[in-house]
Amino acid sequence: MNEAHLIDAQGLGKTYGSLAVLIDANFTVSAGEIRALVGSNGAGKSTLIKILTGAIAPTTGTVKVDGKELVLGSPTEMINSGIACIYQHSNLAPAMTVLDNIFLGRQPTKRFGLLDRKRQRREAEELLQRHAIQIDLDALVSTLPTVKQKEVEILKALALNARILLMDEPTGWLAASDVAKLHATIRTLKSSGVAIVYISHMLDEIFAVCDTVTVMRDGRIISEGKVADITRPSLVKLMVGEKLAKDSAQAGKFKRMARGTGKVRLSANGLTKRGVFSDISFDLFAGEIFCITGLIGSKRTEFLHTLFGSDRFDSGELKVDGKVISFKSPTQAISNGMGFVTEDRHREGLMLGLSISNNLVMATLRKFHKFGLLKRKEIYSATGEMITDLNIQPPDPIKPVRLLSGGNQQKVLLGKWLNLKPKFLLLDEPTVGVDVGAKAEIYAILRAERDKGAAILVVSSDLEEVMTISDRIAVMVSGRLVAIHDADKTTLAEIIGEIGGAAR
């Protein structure tokens, strides 16, 4: 830590409108260092990464590499300075070969811009050899399994001769054996003087491979130190903060309603989708909040879609109110009183160009028309009420949702399903990218719905959230439910252990 810093970021801040997602972050990494960057969802990690890759420009602050100050907000500048990133989402051109993807945008050339194919292949093969990765360079990326695609992404970053490598949940999609291999690769890189920023929820991985750790919370860097100096519980405590303790205490004030009213609303029995999840069994009771937690890639989202009818399971039995049923389409699920707050509100949830009001009635239009005619007065009053109830800001029904903050967008998405007066409410990561205030509001809404007797199923990776709102907690690892606890009879440590440790 005493050597000259390879990367030196000072005073970074980023605000969207009134929402500050990153506040005065000072972040330095030295050559040959593997730095873990941890924090719960919405802590500001992604924003920091985006600034370092040039995807966005910060509102304040500077970044220096090797003492040279960089122009921020330009991907090219960042790449040229030796910063490379492996994203959670694929950044490959699917119709091109592995070889081309490794050198995407920077293939070696001879005169006249002709590709130096031989050199490209040679360099790629050297790369493969150096990192002991086996892959068919001539295969089209679109034909590769996802894990292999991840390797291509890693190779792509490595091929940039990156001196600073950012890895955003690099093992999210990898099997255990591949994780070990990746860690070996990372150590090779470290010995050649590359600085690595390793972002992961997997505490095991952090203790296995990282030298130092930076903890972020609520948009701020709150702690930095050597991994060797820290214990797992104290790290967890740093991540979730005093606030969790406070919230947990607060949550204690709320009655935990494990098994709710005692009436089984939905019963899953051995649900299996080949290659995705298997043998999932649980009962969901009316009047409880049931949380499924786990890592990204543990197939929770896919599971919700099969419940909702937007995807199918292969075997097993689903009972809804005692009747065996499998929804063939969302339409059917909705008419049975099921609502689904999807994870990606931009891609699957909202119509960003439409108004708040239109979005609020989007899932429940059948309630708002008579003889095919819209009952506009009722829409007007219902959406007006909903906006007030959910405290959507600004309370302007004709405002396009695109112009709202993340938290208010999420409330609109939630409100869309509340209009249904749902008997079942599925929520997938309901507070991603939502500020603290809105989070609390959303939790209150969920509790209110629970108390009205709805059966609520929440999928969340945010442990703070899970501990705050759940009545019962299930842990999902690689497509299996490994444990189900009553919330007041378990501890955070136990859950973290089951998520990160026990499985691997």
């Binding site: 699957e348 119509m351 960003l352 160009g353 439409l354 239109n358 989007m362 506009r376 829409i379 112009l403």
Partner: protein, 317 residues
């Protein structure tokens, strides 16, 4: 109410954009009337609507398709084949209602086939309707031959395109009624909202429980029906039907009108009312340049430049 909200909201979104087109129309009208005062004569202004009748009907019908991010290139031949259907039906001695129903039916059928290929098989709309453009034209030519078929002694049919009610041309009334009906569907029924929702975010619309595929098939059917209605009106106006009507370029004019009206080809919110403004915009340009006796070259260049400027303006504001 909902539609009004949309309009108002986009007004707030950017102060200029929604008024850009009406303002441009006013500006162009002023320019033309200075150059040729006769432009402002009431009969000429009505004439503009009369001239844009067919484009107007087709544009209104195709707006929903564009709103979902699709496109219908096959309207030209559908226009022709519906005129032929009406002619042959009447020629066979069938009554006017049957003839019109058959003509509209053919349009709806072709539209539905387009919609099915797009919605169920997931094929790209531009290619599906391009292929259909070729197929339907071929069918029309085989069926109708190269001749002009004179429509004689069909007073009721002729009335559709040339009659007047209370001094207003019936074809204009037809356009307004049709546009009004579609506008009503868009504003007062859930359909308009669902279509806009599909265009904005098809996946989200599906997950909100809407029958996305069925809706898409239906709106392509509507587009086909619009083209068929235009075919009936044209055949009535020119007292003939022929397989070559609706020549290449018709579909592009229709699409241009819709896009000028502010509906994005990428899909999303749109409005029948604004499509009509787009239609009037094109109509004013065409009419003004005809009345000024401008040569074809200047007409075409002006049209291209104005489309670019109008679209760039709405993109930048």
């Amino acid at each position: 109410m909902i539609a009004r909200w949309n309009l108002k909201s986009s007004a707030k979104l950017s102060k200029l954009a929604p008024y850009a087109l009406p303002l441009a129309i006013v500006f162009i009208v002023i320019m033309f009337s200075i150059a040729e005062p006769a432009f402002l004569k009431p009969e000429n202004l009505i004439g503009i609507i009369h001239q844009m009748n067919l484009i107007g009907i087709m544009a209104v019908a195709m707006t929903f398709v564009i709103m979902t991010g699709g496109v219908d290139l096959s309207v030209g031949p559908v226009l022709a084949i519906s005129g032929l259907t009406a002619f042959f039906a009447m020629d066979a001695g069938l009554g006017l209602p049957i003839a019109i129903a058959a003509a509209l039916g053919v349009g709806i059928l072709i539209g539905t086939i387009n919609g099915t290929l797009v919605a169920i098989f997931g094929l790209p709309p531009i290619i599906v309707t391009l292929a259909m453009l070729s197929i339907v034209r071929g069918l029309a030519l085989i069926w109708g031959g190269p001749e002009w078929h004179l429509i004689r002694d069909q007073d009721a049919f002729t009335f559709i395109g040339t009659g007047h009610i209370g001094g207003i041309s019936f074809s204009i009334i037809l356009l307004l009624v049709f546009a009004g009906a579609v506008m009503f569907v868009q504003k007062r029924t859930p359909i308009g909202l669902i279509v806009a929702g599909i265009g904005e975010n098809e996946r989200a619309a599906y997950l909100s429980g809407h029958r996305v595929r069925l809706t898409k098939i239906a709106i392509y059917g509507l587009s086909g029906m619009g083209a068929a209605l235009a075919g009936i009106v044209q055949s009535s106006q020119v007292h003939t039907s022929a397989a070559v009507y609706g020549e290449f370029g018709t579909e592009l004019d229709v699409i241009a009108a819709i896009v000028l009206g502010g509906t994005s080809l990428m899909g999303g919110n749109g409005s029948i009312g604004r499509t009509l403004i787009g239609v009037i915009f094109l109509g004013v340009i065409n009419n003004g340049m005809n009345i000024l006796n401008v040569t074809l070259d200047i007409q075409l260049i002006t049209k291209g430049v104005i489309i670019v400027l109008a679209m760039a303006l709405s993109e930048l504001t």
